[in-house]
Assembly symmetry: D2
Homo-oligomer: 138 residues x 4
């Protein structure tokens, strides 16, 4: 695997809950933010026109394991690994690590499927275009 | 004013923050939820096809005053008052009250403008259709 | 399994994203809302004093599979199944179904661990108290 | 006014709604993020121990006016102006501007009150400590 993309972030106040830690559902927003930053880093956007089609990557399966809670104003990194690239799908793996040390905060995965949006808004799965595949695999 | 719509709600865990109270920004989601429930109560939706047009009501100005914090699992009511109906805009007022007593939790307003969405997604303000106006003023 | 708790919900505007569907991360908020309603239905709260201890159930592993997207104002049900009750942990399973039909919208799981909060805010895992276990297993 | 703090941000996918633009309630999260970054820039945190007290700045009144919608992946700046500093309160003003041009996206205000948190979680308003006032006014 060549790609080894790191996304840096700080935990915001609105992301905490009454237990005093970052609410667990926000980790999925963080993974998505990191994934989108990864797409930009290889010259794409997750929402794109491609050869006249409007394509996107909706999630079909996601998971997260929580190892160590994040506190307000803690900074952390998310490593984005496009680990398994199928014909129509990609499984991203994520590792959350504290910025200043090596504590593992969480790990997660998101499996996304390449779809074409019809004008009606309907989604239809499609083969990942070859240039996108090449950019992912380089 | 005839309308006097009440929307009931419970404060959810994910809506609290590390101060142990509902995060202030969520009150705007609550007002919007209450507004949309009000639209449904008079037979409309905030996202609608109307005479072949796709119309909506984006916000142009909103405000909220916080009087008494909401805690996890507290239930509360929001009174929705479509108080000022202009040619193209509506100013909704909101009162948040605890369900079991008469404590005022918060007050707010949202000024929304009637717009037509072009196929491109562009929004253009328009006169509030007369049947919608009639339903609001009845 | 005796418990078969259903939680009803409508998809709110603020929960949609620019793809016109409910954003995937919100499904975890929905599962948690449903779980908390389940706790209330058996006489407990997820945040509780118990025999002088402040106990809670932070998540250690969660996952969701998306089958059919939810649209604005669609109503749906979430079935909550406390499927695997260990010494210190519970694995809840969830099934999202459209209210008016039998379409499966999503399935998910959340594994939570019983912890005691110290005054410092630190969390320490503990055995699930026997009365809570009894209520879960009844 | 000496302070002229700029906070830079990109609009994230999860912050958009089905109208294809950033949901209006998120602007309050953005203002709060910017305010907290401002506090850090002058050496404080919005959640702090101060002379043995745990103090904070809950919001008592907030407002926002929307001028031009933000789209996914648009970058923007928020100017933070601690414009009116009272004995116990601060009124922050905010200006949202697109990063690459001079379009005004939104303006807002947040009035916060200095409070002391009791061990019980209760909040009591207090005079802004003199060193914090000095840092705000410098």
């Amino acid at each position: 695997m060549v790609h080894n993309f790191l996304y840096k972030r700080i935990a915001q106040f609105a992301e905490t809950d009454m237990a005093g830690i970052v609410h667990f559902a926000n980790y999925f927003r963080f993974m998505e933010e990191a994934e989108h930053a990864f797409w930009r880093s290889i010259g794409y956007s997750v929402v794109m026109e491609h050869a006249g089609l409007r394509i996107g990557f909706p999630r079909v399966k996601v998971e997260c394991e929580y190892k160590s809670p994040l506190l307000f104003e803690e900074s952390f990194c998310i490593r984005v690994i496009p680990g398994r690239i199928g014909e129509k799908s990609i499984r991203f793996s994520f590792e959350f690590v504290r910025s200043d040390e090596t504590t593992l905060v969480a790990t997660g995965t998101m499996t996304v499927v390449c779809v074409e949006f019809a004008a009606s808004g309907e989604m239809k799965s499609m083969l990942i275009p070859s240039d996108i595949r090449a950019a992912l695999e380089q």
